[in-house]
């Protein structure tokens, strides 16, 4: 069951260094073949590259507040993901400072009495000068049977 008191929970800030080899490796993994991902010393990160926050946020105690929402691993799914760049995309050599906040939790009735519970987490990325350069918005969904429905 989702813990609604997690709304507003904020993680500790973490560094995300955009590194040339990682940009090239990530681009290859998603079959991105544009030369801007592999040319020069500062290749451009692919649109979904900031998902590598998964690595960086683990290096900091309390870097990822997502677990506080208590979403079930069996019934939870990645529903939506969004990346906003407030200027050109990140590129190798950039140092970003990420910080995640659980911003919303809401229910939506579905078929057969199933209730879908959504959890949204926003990660902001600032540069060293404190300028907001990117945001990552993660929406997870958990399926919960209606209380009257017998367990499968």
């Amino acid at each position: 069951m989702i813990n609604r008191s997690a709304i507003g929970a904020k993680g500790a800030p973490f560094d995300l260094w955009v590194e040339r080899g990682k940009v090239m490796e990530f681009a290859r993994a998603v079959r991105a073949e544009h030369p801007d991902h592999s040319t020069g010393l500062a290749p451009i990160a692919p649109p979904t590259f900031l998902t590598t926050q998964l690595f960086w946020e683990k290096l900091v105690e309390g870097g990822n507040p997502w677990a506080l929402a208590g979403m079930s691993e069996e019934r939870g799914m990645h529903a939506e993901q969004e990346y906003v760049f407030h200027g050109p995309p990140p590129r190798a050599g950039d140092r970003l400072i990420g910080q995640s906040t659980i911003t919303e939790i809401w229910d939506k009735p579905s078929k057969n009495g199933v209730v879908l519970t959504f959890v949204k987490m926003v990660t902001t990325f600032h540069d060293a000068d404190g300028r907001l350069v990117a945001e990552a918005i993660l929406t997870g969904v958990e399926r919960n049977p209606a209380p009257t429905e017998p367990a499968p």
């Binding site: 993994a29 649109p47 690595f55 799914m77």
Partner: protein
């Protein structure tokens, strides 16, 4: 990109697949998402799946790559992804998309794209909406 885009423009679709376990493992190593459901066969089966689940961010990333191979990655400003259906090894996806809006400003075109990956039956498995800012200054 020197040529201006127009609403409704729809370049040729691209085939992705058949999806392999190697695709998922390569993506997981690159992204840092090591969820075993995407590569550990006994774990995936114990979770009720016939085979390891495709990584949703892999197919979504490949769909975005279809767009950035075309328009370049420099202009990307917004990417929104929604998953509709799980995928498994052996499936072949078709990646396609079209221009849904072009807003001209003094220095650039702001271009919206709607992208979709469909399975062999034509059912959408992942949708992506992207916004690009493409400079219209002198070449």
């Amino acid at each position: 990109m020197s040529r201006r885009l127009y609403t409704g423009e729809e370049p040729a679709a691209l085939t992705l697949g058949p999806l392999t376990r190697t695709d998922f493992v390569r993506y997981q190593g690159a992204s840092g998402d090591m969820n075993p459901i995407h590569h550990d066969e006994p774990f995936a089966k114990a979770s009720g799946y016939p085979a390891p689940l495709a990584v949703g961010m892999f197919s979504a990333g490949a769909l975005c790559a279809w767009a950035t191979d075309w328009l370049g990655p420099q202009g990307v400003r917004r990417t929104r992804i929604r998953w509709l259906k799980p995928c498994f090894p052996g499936m072949t996806l078709t990646l396609s998309g079209r221009v849904t809006a072009v807003r001209a400003t003094e220095t650039r075109d702001e271009v919206d794209l709607a992208l979709v990956a469909t399975d062999e039956a034509g059912a959408p498995v992942v949708q992506v909406w992207m916004e690009f800012h493409l400079s219209t200054d002198a070449p």
